[in-house]
């Protein structure tokens, strides 16, 4: 029908045509996002896969500095409004190397939840890294996390610091003595090449009843034996705690959930020096 428009109005014709193209494209794109075979499917579009590797590539290597400064926050778990406010706040910060989310990205372990969280956290200016939480393991969550993020246990080095991130959600494994993977943890702690400091990050802290009780002593002993360890970071409890609960010189910190509208900025330098800042945001809402 478009060719019937008066010749004096070609701009109107063009406008209509591009409008129609936009509408058709939007519908097509929209319907692609609408197509889901199961709320538990691990399949996500290519651009939403492998976020851990993607963010590590964005992080790159620190140049000419011994200091690492990162945001540390806990459970995003169905707090999407708060997650958006969090992203706005973090993007106003200067000198942040990366953001660390200490697990429970999702509430129900559903595919869409991982996508909702990733699409919001992808708006962060610094890259963000995650560790798996117990809620992320519900249903088919393990496979979904592996697709969207990557391995459950992994390490990366930045500014002379080795970050070791691992699954400590022992209850989800029925306390089978396999989670956390202590042999893997010991191997990472023993590999001292290229890093003068260590930071261990997990979702469930070893002081919690959801940590496999049979593995607490082995876990804490492995950490105690590492002279380079700065501290151990966790989420799960949705609040800030800091202390040395095993009275062995090892500091264990936990952080807020997104619901609390607070996060930490941790700065690590020198021989196990660190500073903790707390940021509150959007509390007026």
């Amino acid at each position: 029908m478009l060719h019937e428009f008066p010749a004096c109005l070609p701009w109107l014709r063009d406008l209509l045509r591009s409008g129609l193209q936009l509408l058709a494209g939007g519908l097509l794109l929209g319907s692609c996002q609408l197509i889901e075979y199961s709320p538990n499917q691990a399949y996500v579009p290519v651009r939403e896969r492998g976020q851990t590797a993607r963010n590590l590539q964005l992080l790159g290597a620190a140049t000419g500095t011994d200091t690492v400064r990162f945001v540390f926050v806990g459970d995003t778990q169905r707090f999407y409004d708060e997650t958006e406010a969090f992203v706005t706040s973090v993007n106003q910060q200067r000198g942040i190397d990366f953001v660390l989310v200490a697990g429970d990205l999702s509430d129900f372990g559903l595919t869409r939840e991982f996508q909702w969280v990733n699409r919001r956290l992808a708006a962060l200016r610094p890259p963000y890294l995650t560790v798996i939480g117990n809620h992320d393991l519900v249903g088919n969550g393990r496979a979904i996390y592996q697709h969207v993020y990557g391995p459950l246990n992994y390490t990366f080095d930045y500014a002379g610091t080795r970050f070791i991130l691992l699954d400590t959600n022992g209850r989800e494994d029925g306390f089978g003595g396999r989670v956390p993977d202590l042999p893997w943890l010991r191997r990472q702690l023993a590999d001292t090449a290229g890093a003068r400091r260590t930071v261990v990050v997990s979702h469930v802290p070893p002081t919690d009843e959801d940590f496999d009780p049979a593995l607490v002593s082995g876990y804490t002993a492995a950490l105690r034996a590492d002279p380079r360890l700065v501290f151990h970071l966790s989420g799960h409890v949705h609040r800030f705690t800091a202390g040395q609960p095993f009275h062995d010189g090892v500091s264990y910190l936990t952080t807020y959930s997104l619901k609390k509208r607070r996060y930490h900025i941790l700065t690590v330098w020198g021989a196990r020096q660190f500073r903790l800042e707390t940021v509150a945001y959007g509390l007026d809402k």
Partner: protein
Amino acid sequence: MASTNKLNWCLVGLLLAAPALPARAQAHPPKAPFFLTLHLAGGTGLVALGGGVRVAHERLEPEVLVGYLPRRLSGTKGLAIFTLKTTYLPWTPRFGDSRWHAAPLTLGARLTYTTGQQFFLTAASSGRYQPGYYWWSSAVRAGLLLGTRLGYQPSGGLRTALYSELSTNDLHLVSALTNRSLRLPEILTLGGGAKVR
């Protein structure tokens, strides 16, 4: 684990037995009310096959579907998804004497049960948690549906209808109701298929 499996099989049995109930209720149907369904996407597997019956003066369509989610999509093993679904057709205009018929708006509800050891019927039944640790069932989802359909019946032939529907499930709905920033399209899923009668 044994008790979970028993529960699983009880549920499967219930789902499979369900279509027999409404059929018996309609003692003298005016016309064979049974239909077969081929369903694609929409949260019940890549593809689902099943059938049902038209009851309540051709207004309700209870049906049972068995869906399959292949390994490539599940990321683990292939999963079977059992669906118990009812569609309500409030308005089914016919176009004069033509062989075309339509249901511009259909409303529906469904329950799905996903098989697989990683899913629990209730958190307590898995044996890993205290009661109330996780309040929902990871195996069972309840859903709401809004759809449309168009059908054609050649003289003396089978009546075939194509339909599409948008759905959401209980947990997606809970997420949207507790967050202003989750938009409606983010919780909707598109599915569709064909029904032959």
